[in-house]
Symmetry: C2
Subunit: 226 residues, 2 copies
């Protein structure tokens, strides 16, 4: 293979600010340019240019939502690459990872929060189940069907608030590469499930675990199994 390709890829991470950005993104969240600028202590315009390069290089993708343009990893492989490099660059930070991060990573992949809603395999699985039952329409983004609106109201006591925030919205999942449910309905799932004791935050991070009661309830409610 040509060295140019390798050098080009490495150059993406060979800048302090871009490295800082990728390290921040390693938490799996999607960050806005403004957040990243504050985090890396540079001007927003600078971050914008860096994001352009990282996207062009295939490491990141952008998702535009209102006046925000979130950035996140393009693939688990890209994130993995950054993690490998970071581990080699700072072996000390790897130590606590060896066992803990491995389980933490699988826990995050299993289920986690994404801002205020549920993501990971749990989030994607929920969305799949809702679609399969005809409660969620995924033909153009995500939208609750009439049956879905009724179901949310009856089963989960959900009534859309007056906010302009969309009721249902598709949110691309980093680990699963598929969409999970965000928006008011997505946020309601999280709070409602937590109130009913169906899910618990496991550990300090954003990982989420389904309780035995939750497993039974969800199985009953959606014919879904976790």
């Amino acid at each position: 293979m040509r060295g140019d390709a390798l050098a080009e890829l490495a150059a993406l991470l060979a800048d302090r600010t871009r490295a800082e950005i990728c390290l921040a993104l390693l938490d799996g969240r999607a960050w806005t340019p403004g957040e990243l600028a504050a985090h890396a202590r540079v001007a927003p315009s600078t971050v914008s240019e860096h994001l352009n390069r990282l996207v062009a290089g295939g490491l990141l993708v952008r998702r535009t939502q209102g006046r925000h343009r979130y950035a996140q990893f393009a693939s688990p492989g890209a994130a993995q690459l950054v993690e490998d490099l970071a581990a080699h660059a700072d072996p000390a930070a790897e130590r606590p990872s060896t066992l803990r991060a491995a389980t933490a990573a699988t826990a995050l992949a299993r289920g986690r929060t994404c801002y205020d809603h549920l993501a990971g395999r749990l989030g994607v699985g929920l969305a799949d189940a809702l679609i399969a039952r005809g409660l969620l329409d995924d033909t153009a983004g995500f939208a609750l069907t009439p049956a879905g609106t009724a179901w949310f109201a009856q089963e989960l006591a959900f009534a859309p608030g007056p906010s302009r925030r969309p009721v249902a919205r598709a949110c691309l999942d980093w680990t699963e590469r598929r969409s999970h449910l965000a928006g008011q309905a997505g946020a309601h799932l999280r709070t409602c499930f937590a109130e009913r004791g169906w899910i618990t935050g496991s550990g300090t991070g954003r990982a989420v675990r389904v309780t035995p009661q939750g497993r039974a309830a969800l199985c009953d409610l959606l014919s879904a199994t976790w």
Copy 2:
């Protein structure tokens, strides 16, 4: 962790010439600056500076031998890092690797030639066995003991040639991170073993396999098992 460390590591590979060097070194051989300069099409002085950076960064180590100063990877982990990056930079080149390179890599780690002598676990194991039997002295580099000289002459029909090349020399092994036997005696082991049918070159590369007869003979000769 700080982004600086990650950026610094990535910067090592973020240059076309350095990337070319590392890619060349991926074959496990130790290259001279001159060879690398010809390979990368730059002046020797340029390569020299690049090697300085790569060594300072911990990716490479140098081994000086006569008027040559060979460069090779500092550790299997460093080589792995470059391979990971290269695979991500050029996924097409990865395809033939998936199965073949995996087995090839283990084959190389098991036994291979290093210029004209034996390396890998095979080479390191041979050196260990010779030391254990008091035939090879490793207190200051490698040197044949009187018993070793007699043993090489009797068992392997080895007589040192008139060349100025040292009879025994330690050669740092890339995969094993320990020394194997080079020099006239090391080269003789290889040719003699091959003549007797104890080893065969497996495949097109530099991988070497011990034949069943070789296994028995070596076990008999050195109480060593491969």
